[in-house]
């Protein structure tokens, strides 16, 4: 199958953005990540007008949905390139863009540092030893699976990098800590931060739940985190 791959290019934050199109002739079972790898292995890489193109900037690691590096907008939706397959997309023109909510670095690469900064601001760590509550093993396990890819923040109507709202990532990751922390002072600190940086900002659109590329039970985790932080359960 022949696909047209439309990629939004931009050399750096200050340079102009433009669209560039490439042809990909290969299996419709290919993931977008393997398409990008194939394009970048061409020597030289030429676009559909025959111009030589610089290698496409994108981040990737595991290629099997474990590291969250390859998040990007694929046909307008935030997804992981490694687990988005051509035959699941409509049509034969595939559009790839960087996330819109984060500062652009180059081509499809954005600076997602704020995700990590926010968890730090929420004091998400254990001051005590883990309590090891056997009843909540499964939701804590799910909380710890979060890839920190940022798909949930890209779709969130309430998240902006210049705002204080930390988004679903905060609620998902907070649960395992709130549930296990035995040090009351620290738990109260987290709860206060959580209230300000998550609870008060969430408009419950739950687009985060629908978009999660590893299908985390986002809604359950944020309900549980709310219960722990706001109602002290």
């Amino acid at each position: 199958m022949v696909y047209k791959i439309r990629i939004r290019r931009q050399e750096n934050r200050k340079s102009d953005r433009y669209w560039q199109e490439f042809e990909f002739d290969g299996s419709e079972n290919s993931s977008v990540a393997s398409v990008l790898n194939e394009l970048n292995s061409r020597s030289p890489l030429k676009d559909n007008s025959g111009n030589i193109a610089a290698p496409i900037g994108w981040e990737c690691g595991c290629m099997v949905r474990k590291c969250g590096a390859c998040a990007m907008l694929i046909n307008g939706l935030p997804r992981l390139a490694c687990s988005t397959f051509l035959n699941t997309l409509r049509g034969t023109t595939i559009t790839l863009e960087p996330f819109s909510k984060f500062p652009l670095v180059r081509d499809l690469i954005v600076d997602r540092s704020i995700l990590f900064e926010n968890l730090k601001k929420l004091n998400l760590w254990l001051d005590s030893e883990a309590y090891m509550n056997p009843w909540t093993h499964e939701p804590r396990y799910q909380s710890a699976r979060c890839l920190m890819c940022g798909c949930c923040l890209e779709v969130c109507p309430n998240f902006h990098t210049d705002g204080t709202f930390a988004g679903a990532i905060a609620a998902v990751n907070a649960f395992r800590i709130l549930n296990e922390e035995q040090e009351a002072t620290h738990k109260n600190e987290i709860s206060a931060e959580y209230k300000e940086k998550y609870f008060e900002g969430c408009g419950k659109s739950l687009s985060c739940h629908d978009i999660c590329p590893i299908r985390l039970p986002v809604e359950e985790l944020l309900v549980r985190s709310n219960a722990a932080a706001i109602w002290g359960k």
Partner: protein, 514 residues
């Protein structure tokens, strides 16, 4: 004033080193091109070995030691392995306190599963995402230190080279991958925890960000490479997006069976050939059997006999991966498998204390050659990274320093490898260093690699020359022209060294057990 330890790499070994360095009162600068969540450690699936003996099998660290040394073909430092296997139970308990969600059996016992090369249940696990679950807890713990200011992260920064005064290291040079700005980072010690040399081959089960460039630069600077030829082929992998996808050994630990077709019927070759351990022979042997048989008949991994509850409680991630990437429901159909490169037992030469040949330079995790010798036991990589990171940080905090500030450090930044040249190198390495090797193919590889320039081809050449020099078969290194193990000449560590002009190979005796 506290010592400053620079750690290159924020995977499991790097984070373990960071937490230990804090414990020892050092400040940490943690340099990595990607956040810890992207590290290859999150891909580790099956588990972490520790003789916790929660299954009434009379297991002990001594047996864990013996199994590790046996699988290693005798090439691992026995004192280092002894330390690791003794520490393992305490390390797993420490991880539990950090909040790692290991599968439990009963109220408070850690569940253990069978793993290759070990007769007793010794592998603690968190379903089939053990690496991810351990990493999340480690990241949470390091986050506290970041907030306190004792760990400073340099995310999106790559290591370029060392600051060197003769044989003394006083920090390194790094580049901000976002702004391309280059900066010097002075420090009392540098711990390298940059992962395996997967980028030399390009089609391994590992992360594409583990390029091997850090190891290659150190090798160029004269840091010796040990046992480079010892490259683990994981028995059960599948082609996926141009690289290999792992099907965890846990699949066989929980009852998965390998078969091929003979005389029109299913042939469970491992069970017939190795009645005692069957599908759970060490990885080198299983990989070779599969490779041989696959020349004539396709080999399958059958997981359909594994009970449904075991799949949902212990292998859900694996089942999910097979469905997403192979469109196969492991509960109803077998999966075709082939061996694929999975782990580098060899790497930067370190002593028992994880010191390299350069003063103030240490290495831990997959980038160094420690604990695994000629073949690694499944479940020993997470353990080796965790324990090795601790040992390296302890050594660094206790011993490092003494930097002569009057000496202006020499800095020579290598040029970045080009994608096309790396592809060429990958092809050469894949062809020469298969499951089974011979002199012809190795010589051809050495000749081909000489046409390429740069650090990665130089490192590739070191591995090829190591494989050529080891004229025997042991562990992962199988020479069809020298099929016997030869302890007289080769019960030794292969050491490759670059003197600025050429690569020299020597064989160094294994340390005596104290």
């Amino acid at each position: 004033m506290s010592k400053t330890i620079i750690i290159i790499g924020a995977g499991l070994a790097g984070l373990s080193a960071a937490l230990q360095a804090m414990e020892n009162g050092c400040d940490v600068k943690l340099v990595s091109p990607f956040p810890s969540e992207r590290a290859q450690s999150v891909m580790a699936e099956g588990g972490i070995n520790a003789a916790l003996n929660t299954k009434d099998e009379k297991d002990s660290p001594e047996e864990h030691f013996a199994d590790t040394i046996k699988a290693a073909g005798g090439l691992a430092d026995p004192n280092a392995v002894w330390g690791m296997t003794q520490a393992a139970p305490e390390l797993v308990h420490w991880l539990l306190k950090l909040g790692v969600l290991f599968n439990m059996s009963g109220y408070d016992d850690v569940d253990l599963r069978n793993f290759g090369g070990q007769k007793k249940k010794r592998t603690a696990f968190a379903q089939s995402d053990t690496g991810k679950q351990i990493m999340t807890a480690m990241i949470d713990a390091v986050r506290q230190k970041e907030a306190a200011g004792t760990v400073e992260r340099f995310s999106h920064h790559s290591f370029l080279t060392l600051r060197l005064c003769g044989n003394v290291c006083s920090g390194c040079v790094i580049r901000d991958e976002y702004s391309q700005e280059i900066m010097e980072l002075p420090g009392d010690a540098v711990i390298i925890a940059s992962g395996g040399m997967h980028g030399l081959f390009g089609n391994t089960t590992g992360s594409l960000s583990n390029t091997g460039e850090v190891t290659a630069e150190l090798f160029r600077l004269g840091v010796p490479l040990a046992n480079g030829e010892m490259i683990q082929y994981h028995p059960t992998t599948v082609e996926c997006s141009g690289k290999r996808m792992l099907i965890s050994e846990a699949a066989r630990g929980e009852g998965g069976r390998l078969f091929a077709t003979k005389d029109g019927q299913r042939w469970y070759f491992m069970e017939e050939k190795y009645p005692e351990m069957g599908n759970l022979m060490p990885r080198d042997i299983t990989a070779r059997e599969i490779w041989r048989i696959s020349q004539e008949s396709e080999v399958f991994l059958d997981m359909t006999e594994i009970p449904k509850e075991i799949i949902s409680d212990k292998l859900s991630g694996l089942a999910d991966d097979c469905m997403t990437y192979l469109h196969k429901d492991i509960q109803t159909e077998p999966v075709p498998v082939l061996p694929g490169i999975h782990y580098f037992m060899g790497g930067i030469l370190v002593d028992e204390h994880h010191r390299t040949s350069i003063q103030n330079l240490y290495a831990a995790g997959e980038c160094c050659a420690q604990y695994h010798g000629a073949n690694r036991l499944g479940g020993n990589s997470l353990l080796g990274a965790l324990y090795g990171g601790r040992v390296a940080a302890k050594s660094a905090c206790e011993q490092a320093g003494g930097v002569n500030l009057s000496c202006a450090a020499q800095i020579d930044i290598p040029s970045a490898p080009q994608i096309a040249a790396t592809k060429q190198l990958n092809k050469i390495m894949q062809e020469a260093l298969g499951v089974v090797r011979n002199e012809d193919r190795l010589l051809k590889g050495i000749q081909a690699v000489q046409t390429l320039t740069g650090n990665l081809p130089l490192l590739g050449s070191a591995i090829l020359n190591s494989a050529l020099a080891r004229k025997e078969s042991r562990g992962a290194h199988w020479r069809e022209d020298y099929p016997k193990r030869n302890d007289r000449d080769y019960l030794k560590t292969t050491v490759a060294r670059f003197d600025g002009k050429q690569i020299q190979i020597s064989f160094v005796p294994i340390p005596e057990r104290r």
